[in-house]
Amino acid sequence: MFTTGLLLVLVTMALALIRALRGPSLFDRILAVNMFGTSTVLGIAVLGFVTDRPAFLDIALVYALISFITTIATLKYFEYGSLGHGRRERDSG
Protein backbone atom coordinates (compact mmCIF):
# COMPACT_ATOMS: atom_id res chain seq x y z
CA MET A 1 0.00 0.00 0.00
CA PHE A 2 2.71 2.42 1.02
CA THR A 3 4.93 1.31 -1.83
CA THR A 4 2.30 2.20 -4.46
CA GLY A 5 1.91 5.64 -2.88
CA LEU A 6 5.68 6.03 -2.78
CA LEU A 7 5.98 4.93 -6.41
CA LEU A 8 3.41 7.48 -7.55
CA VAL A 9 5.19 10.25 -5.64
CA LEU A 10 8.48 9.22 -7.30
CA VAL A 11 6.79 9.44 -10.71
CA THR A 12 5.69 12.99 -9.82
CA MET A 13 9.27 13.86 -8.94
CA ALA A 14 10.43 12.54 -12.31
CA LEU A 15 7.79 14.64 -14.09
CA ALA A 16 8.89 17.68 -12.10
CA LEU A 17 12.52 17.09 -13.13
CA ILE A 18 11.52 16.82 -16.78
CA ARG A 19 9.71 20.16 -16.50
CA ALA A 20 12.78 21.62 -14.74
CA LEU A 21 15.04 20.53 -17.61
CA ARG A 22 12.67 21.54 -20.38
CA GLY A 23 11.14 24.63 -18.80
CA PRO A 24 11.61 27.50 -21.28
CA SER A 25 11.58 30.30 -18.73
CA LEU A 26 13.32 30.64 -15.40
CA PHE A 27 10.04 30.65 -13.54
CA ASP A 28 9.10 27.22 -14.92
CA ARG A 29 12.27 25.90 -13.33
CA ILE A 30 11.48 27.51 -9.99
CA LEU A 31 7.98 26.06 -10.22
CA ALA A 32 9.40 22.60 -10.95
CA VAL A 33 11.81 22.84 -7.99
CA ASN A 34 8.97 23.94 -5.75
CA MET A 35 6.88 20.99 -6.92
CA PHE A 36 9.83 18.64 -6.45
CA GLY A 37 10.20 19.88 -2.87
CA THR A 38 6.56 19.25 -2.05
CA SER A 39 6.62 15.75 -3.48
CA THR A 40 9.83 15.09 -1.52
CA VAL A 41 7.92 16.04 1.62
CA LEU A 42 5.25 13.46 0.75
CA GLY A 43 7.88 10.89 -0.18
CA ILE A 44 9.67 11.28 3.15
CA ALA A 45 6.41 11.06 5.07
CA VAL A 46 5.40 7.85 3.28
CA LEU A 47 8.94 6.49 3.68
CA GLY A 48 8.69 7.18 7.39
CA PHE A 49 5.66 4.92 7.51
CA VAL A 50 7.24 2.24 5.30
CA THR A 51 10.30 1.92 7.53
CA ASP A 52 8.18 2.55 10.62
CA ARG A 53 10.29 5.48 11.84
CA PRO A 54 8.11 8.36 13.13
CA ALA A 55 11.17 10.63 13.18
CA PHE A 56 10.90 10.96 9.39
CA LEU A 57 7.83 13.13 9.82
CA ASP A 58 9.94 15.80 11.53
CA ILE A 59 12.27 15.72 8.54
CA ALA A 60 9.29 16.11 6.20
CA LEU A 61 8.04 19.03 8.28
CA VAL A 62 11.38 20.84 8.18
CA TYR A 63 11.76 20.10 4.49
CA ALA A 64 8.37 21.64 3.73
CA LEU A 65 9.49 24.89 5.37
CA ILE A 66 12.92 24.87 3.77
CA SER A 67 11.49 24.36 0.27
CA PHE A 68 9.15 27.30 0.84
CA ILE A 69 11.98 29.56 1.99
CA THR A 70 14.11 28.43 -0.94
CA THR A 71 11.42 29.40 -3.41
CA ILE A 72 10.93 32.81 -1.82
CA ALA A 73 14.68 33.50 -1.63
CA THR A 74 15.22 32.49 -5.25
CA LEU A 75 12.39 34.71 -6.39
CA LYS A 76 13.67 37.62 -4.35
CA TYR A 77 17.14 37.18 -5.82
CA PHE A 78 15.87 37.20 -9.40
CA GLU A 79 13.41 40.00 -8.82
CA TYR A 80 15.71 42.49 -7.08
CA GLY A 81 19.02 41.29 -8.43
CA SER A 82 20.37 40.67 -4.94
CA LEU A 83 19.27 39.28 -1.58
CA GLY A 84 19.25 42.67 0.09
CA HIS A 85 22.15 44.74 1.37
CA GLY A 86 23.97 44.61 4.72
CA ARG A 87 23.96 47.69 6.92
CA ARG A 88 27.50 48.73 5.86
CA GLU A 89 26.67 48.66 2.12
CA ARG A 90 23.41 50.43 2.56
CA ASP A 91 24.91 53.26 4.68
CA SER A 92 27.99 53.71 2.52
CA GLY A 93 26.26 53.03 -0.86
Partner: protein, 109 residues
Protein backbone atom coordinates in the same frame (compact mmCIF):
# COMPACT_ATOMS: atom_id res chain seq x y z
CA UNK B 1 -12.63 -1.85 12.08
CA UNK B 2 -8.94 -2.27 11.31
CA UNK B 3 -9.80 -3.61 7.86
CA UNK B 4 -11.97 -0.57 7.19
CA UNK B 5 -9.10 1.75 8.18
CA UNK B 6 -6.68 -0.17 5.98
CA UNK B 7 -8.98 -0.06 2.96
CA UNK B 8 -9.79 3.62 3.48
CA UNK B 9 -6.15 4.59 3.91
CA UNK B 10 -5.22 2.50 0.86
CA UNK B 11 -7.79 4.38 -1.22
CA UNK B 12 -6.65 7.77 0.11
CA UNK B 13 -2.98 6.98 -0.38
CA UNK B 14 -3.30 5.71 -3.94
CA UNK B 15 -5.80 8.46 -4.76
CA UNK B 16 -3.41 11.09 -3.44
CA UNK B 17 -0.59 9.56 -5.45
CA UNK B 18 -2.82 9.54 -8.51
CA UNK B 19 -3.61 13.25 -8.13
CA UNK B 20 0.09 13.95 -7.63
CA UNK B 21 0.80 12.28 -10.97
CA UNK B 22 -2.11 14.13 -12.59
CA UNK B 23 -0.61 17.41 -11.36
CA UNK B 24 2.80 16.34 -12.63
CA UNK B 25 1.40 15.53 -16.07
CA UNK B 26 -0.48 18.85 -16.02
CA UNK B 27 2.74 20.73 -15.30
CA UNK B 28 4.35 18.98 -18.25
CA UNK B 29 1.63 19.33 -20.81
CA UNK B 30 -0.05 22.66 -20.12
CA UNK B 31 1.06 25.29 -22.66
CA UNK B 32 1.39 28.40 -20.53
CA UNK B 33 3.36 29.08 -17.35
CA UNK B 34 0.34 30.38 -15.46
CA UNK B 35 -1.75 27.30 -16.26
CA UNK B 36 1.16 25.20 -15.01
CA UNK B 37 0.87 27.10 -11.75
CA UNK B 38 -2.64 25.73 -11.46
CA UNK B 39 -1.45 22.19 -12.13
CA UNK B 40 1.21 22.44 -9.44
CA UNK B 41 -1.50 23.66 -7.09
CA UNK B 42 -3.41 20.43 -7.69
CA UNK B 43 -0.50 18.46 -6.28
CA UNK B 44 -0.06 20.50 -3.15
CA UNK B 45 -3.70 20.66 -2.13
CA UNK B 46 -5.31 17.45 -3.30
CA UNK B 47 -2.33 15.12 -3.67
CA UNK B 48 -0.72 16.12 -0.39
CA UNK B 49 -4.06 16.24 1.42
CA UNK B 50 -5.12 12.74 0.40
CA UNK B 51 -1.69 11.18 0.97
CA UNK B 52 -1.34 12.76 4.41
CA UNK B 53 -4.90 11.78 5.30
CA UNK B 54 -4.18 8.21 4.22
CA UNK B 55 -1.13 8.21 6.47
CA UNK B 56 -3.14 9.77 9.27
CA UNK B 57 -5.45 6.74 9.29
CA UNK B 58 -2.43 4.51 9.74
CA UNK B 59 -0.91 6.56 12.54
CA UNK B 60 -0.71 4.47 15.73
CA UNK B 61 0.20 7.14 18.26
CA UNK B 62 -1.05 10.67 18.81
CA UNK B 63 2.24 12.47 18.19
CA UNK B 64 2.59 10.89 14.75
CA UNK B 65 -0.93 12.02 13.90
CA UNK B 66 -0.20 15.49 15.26
CA UNK B 67 2.90 15.78 13.10
CA UNK B 68 0.97 14.76 10.01
CA UNK B 69 -1.70 17.36 10.67
CA UNK B 70 1.03 19.94 11.30
CA UNK B 71 2.71 19.10 7.97
CA UNK B 72 -0.58 19.52 6.18
CA UNK B 73 -1.26 22.90 7.78
CA UNK B 74 2.26 24.17 7.01
CA UNK B 75 1.80 23.08 3.41
CA UNK B 76 -1.62 24.74 3.38
CA UNK B 77 -0.12 28.08 4.41
CA UNK B 78 3.23 28.08 2.64
CA UNK B 79 2.36 26.77 -0.82
CA UNK B 80 -0.23 29.41 -1.80
CA UNK B 81 2.17 32.12 -0.66
CA UNK B 82 4.96 30.64 -2.75
CA UNK B 83 2.67 30.30 -5.76
CA UNK B 84 1.53 33.91 -5.36
CA UNK B 85 5.11 35.17 -5.12
CA UNK B 86 6.00 33.06 -8.16
CA UNK B 87 3.15 34.45 -10.24
CA UNK B 88 3.87 38.04 -9.17
CA UNK B 89 7.55 37.89 -10.06
CA UNK B 90 6.74 36.04 -13.29
CA UNK B 91 4.41 38.86 -14.30
CA UNK B 92 7.07 41.44 -13.48
CA UNK B 93 9.64 39.24 -15.18
CA UNK B 94 7.85 39.78 -18.46
CA UNK B 95 5.79 36.60 -18.80
CA UNK B 96 2.40 37.40 -20.21
CA UNK B 97 -0.50 35.00 -19.60
CA UNK B 98 -2.00 33.74 -22.85
CA UNK B 99 -5.34 35.53 -23.04
CA UNK B 100 -7.18 34.55 -26.25
CA UNK B 101 -9.05 37.73 -27.24
CA UNK B 102 -11.30 36.24 -29.91
CA UNK B 103 -13.88 38.92 -29.14
CA UNK B 104 -15.06 36.99 -26.11
CA UNK B 105 -17.07 38.57 -23.28
CA UNK B 106 -13.94 39.60 -21.41
CA UNK B 107 -12.43 41.62 -24.22
CA UNK B 108 -15.31 43.44 -25.88
CA UNK B 109 -14.11 46.80 -24.53
Amino acid sequence: MALLLDVLSWICLVGGGFFCVVGGIGVLRLPDFFSRLHASGVIDTLGAGLVLFGLLLQAESLDVALRLVLIFFFLLFTVPTATHALAKSALQGGLEPEVDDDGGASSNS
